[in-house]
């Protein structure tokens, strides 16, 4: 029952380079993890729940931004995006407004994802996936048809006439 190196746990260089509080937290998580293999099902179930709670608590503690603050900022971002979209449709032609709205909406979604990542609610891998998805949906939908334009039916007709 001691530091990570003594209690029969892996005394790797990596664990020793962690701060003492992080090592101790890991030690508690290790105990809970071991208890998940307990022969007593009631203790096993409690260990699973405690480990989940401990991880959640640690995630909140290490977040660079509090989840409540992130939620408020996300709401503000989406509200600003909504107001911008309304402004675009009032002051610009429908085509221009649509393009600008898609861009603003995409940026707002990326902003919300960024806030979620900073508040430890979203992993970096999922953030990258979401950014890629938003990029392909928004920018892809704007420039995709133009890129396909040369292959339009009129073009195909012209090329077939050439033959």
């Amino acid at each position: 029952m001691a530091g990570r190196g003594q209690g029969g746990k892996k005394g790797t260089n990596e664990s020793l380079s962690l701060s003492l509080s992080a090592q101790t937290h890991q030690q508690i998580l290790d105990y809970l993890k071991v208890a998940e293999d307990s022969t007593h099902p009631e203790i096993r179930d409690t260990a699973v729940q405690l480990a989940k709670d401990a991880s959640e608590h640690q995630r909140k503690q290490t977040a660079r931004l509090q989840p409540a603050t992130a939620a408020m900022l996300s709401l503000l971002t989406l509200a600003l995006a909504g107001a911008s979209i309304w402004y675009f449709f009032v002051h610009y032609s429908e085509r221009v407004a649509t393009i600008m709205s898609v861009m603003v909406f995409g940026l707002a979604i990326i902003g919300v994802c960024l806030l979620a990542m900073v508040s430890n609610q979203l992993s970096q891998a999922n953030f990258v996936k979401l950014v890629e998805a938003v990029w392909s949906k928004s920018v892809g939908s704007l420039w995709g048809p133009r890129a396909k334009h040369p292959e339009s039916p009129e073009r195909e007709k012209l090329t077939s006439n050439d033959d």
Binding site: A2, G5, Q23, E42, I43
Partner: protein, 127 residues
């Protein structure tokens, strides 16, 4: 007669009721014999459980605000108790070791997790 807090913990964990009764009996016996800390390894041996299982039961009592987790920090060189802290974050702000006359790095220290009755009401025990 059990304390209302302990009854609440048992009500929230009905399947652990027997284990918790045994653990609380052990804690009370330790307190009556003058021990102020509950060491999971010793509790596990007394209850014939593994260390990990004892930690789970002790953590249930921590969650129920009956016990409080504390951390005894020892200097590895001299095996002396450097300090006891209540908050895990305080482990990163430890005092200078008087015996070695230096500020130790984490690898020179070892932490023992222990538990004590919350609010310092040690003499009366839990139940």
């Amino acid at each position: 007669m059990s304390s209302p807090k302990f009854e609440r913990v048992k009500k929230n964990n009905p399947r652990l009721s027997d284990f918790l009764d045994r653990l609380v009996s052990y804690i009370n016996s330790q307190i009556q014999s003058g021990e102020s800390y509950i060491i999971p390894k010793l509790a596990a041996a007394a209850l014939r459980l593994t260390d990990a299982e004892a930690v789970v039961l002790l953590e249930v009592l921590v969650k129920g605000e009956i016990l409080q987790r504390i951390y005894n920090v020892y200097c590895r060189k001299n095996e002396t108790l450097l300090t006891t802290v209540e908050n895990i974050d305080d482990l990163d702000r430890l005092p200078r070791c008087d015996d070695c006359d230096e500020c130790h790095s984490p690898r020179d220290l070892k932490v023992e997790i222990a538990y004590r009755v919350k609010n310092g009401n040690v003499r009366s025990g839990i139940v």
